[in-house]
């Protein structure tokens, strides 16, 4: 039962899982980088980053590079913990089979 509890609903989607995977190994990733790596549309990516932002697993920084607006993302402490828990739960589920 406890294993199932650790499977996090917030990560229960390929793109959200992908966003977290990239941010776990990079200090920051901007919108364009995430878009290219995950191969998704702007709207799609924006809705998934918003979902992760809402549960405070990632934080968003908006800034200007020259005159261009640039949005970059990073994980929060909470997001990192939850992601690790989620991975452990996945591994346990796989090993149980």
């Amino acid at each position: 039962m406890s294993i199932i509890n650790n499977i996090n609903k917030a990560f229960d989607h390929r793109i959200r899982l992908g966003i977290m995977s990239i941010l776990m190994v990079n200090e920051y990733a901007d919108f364009k980088m995430l878009k290219e790596l995950l191969d998704v549309t702007d709207g799609n990516l924006a809705s998934h980053t918003k979902a992760l932002e809402k549960v405070e697993y990632i934080k968003v920084e908006k800034q200007f590079i020259g005159r261009k607006p640039n949005t970059r993302y990073a994980t929060t402490k909470l997001g990192e913990q939850e992601f690790k828990k989620h991975i452990n739960a996945l591994e346990k589920l796989i090993n149980k089979q």
Partner: protein, 202 residues
Amino acid sequence: MESKDYLKDISEIKNLMNKSSRFISLSGLSGVLAGIYALVGAAIAYFLVKNSDRGYLILDGYIFKLCLLILALVAILSIATGIILTTKKAKKQGVKIWDNASKRLVINFLIPLLSGGLYILIVLCQGKYGQTAALMLIFYGLALVNASKYSIGDIKYLGIIDIILGLIAASCPGYGFWLWVIGFGIMHIVYGTWMHFKYDRN
């Protein structure tokens, strides 16, 4: 059926982590060619020195300048080959050649390498050249170990071998040339061949 999905999730996570933080399109073949350039360069330098009037190398002779020129040529040819073959491989894999991952790789490779290179030049200018081969091996090895975090992890082992060879060269003066030949020539060929068969052949 569920478990199959989770397995897919895990491999997707791994794939994205690697793709976003490591540049793994390094060409093994360029390693082999770099090794061959090093061997050819070393052979030319060897015969130049052996056939000179003295039969050994001194610091201010023109043969020494020729040797430095050969060394520079080997380095330039190796870097050019590396860039060309790696670009080709990246294109084939549909990976961008100049992104965050490759930038990080180049920066982390160059920091130990350039500090080592400058240090060797400073020491040479002070007339001490006995440790040159050892220093080249050690700093190149450190550069590889440092870069391995941002590329194919396996290049770490080549780096460690070069560091060990460098330390041996430092403690056995007179064998520096031969250890340089092993470290930069033979090890590159062995390593490049291994990488080629492990990663490139598909």
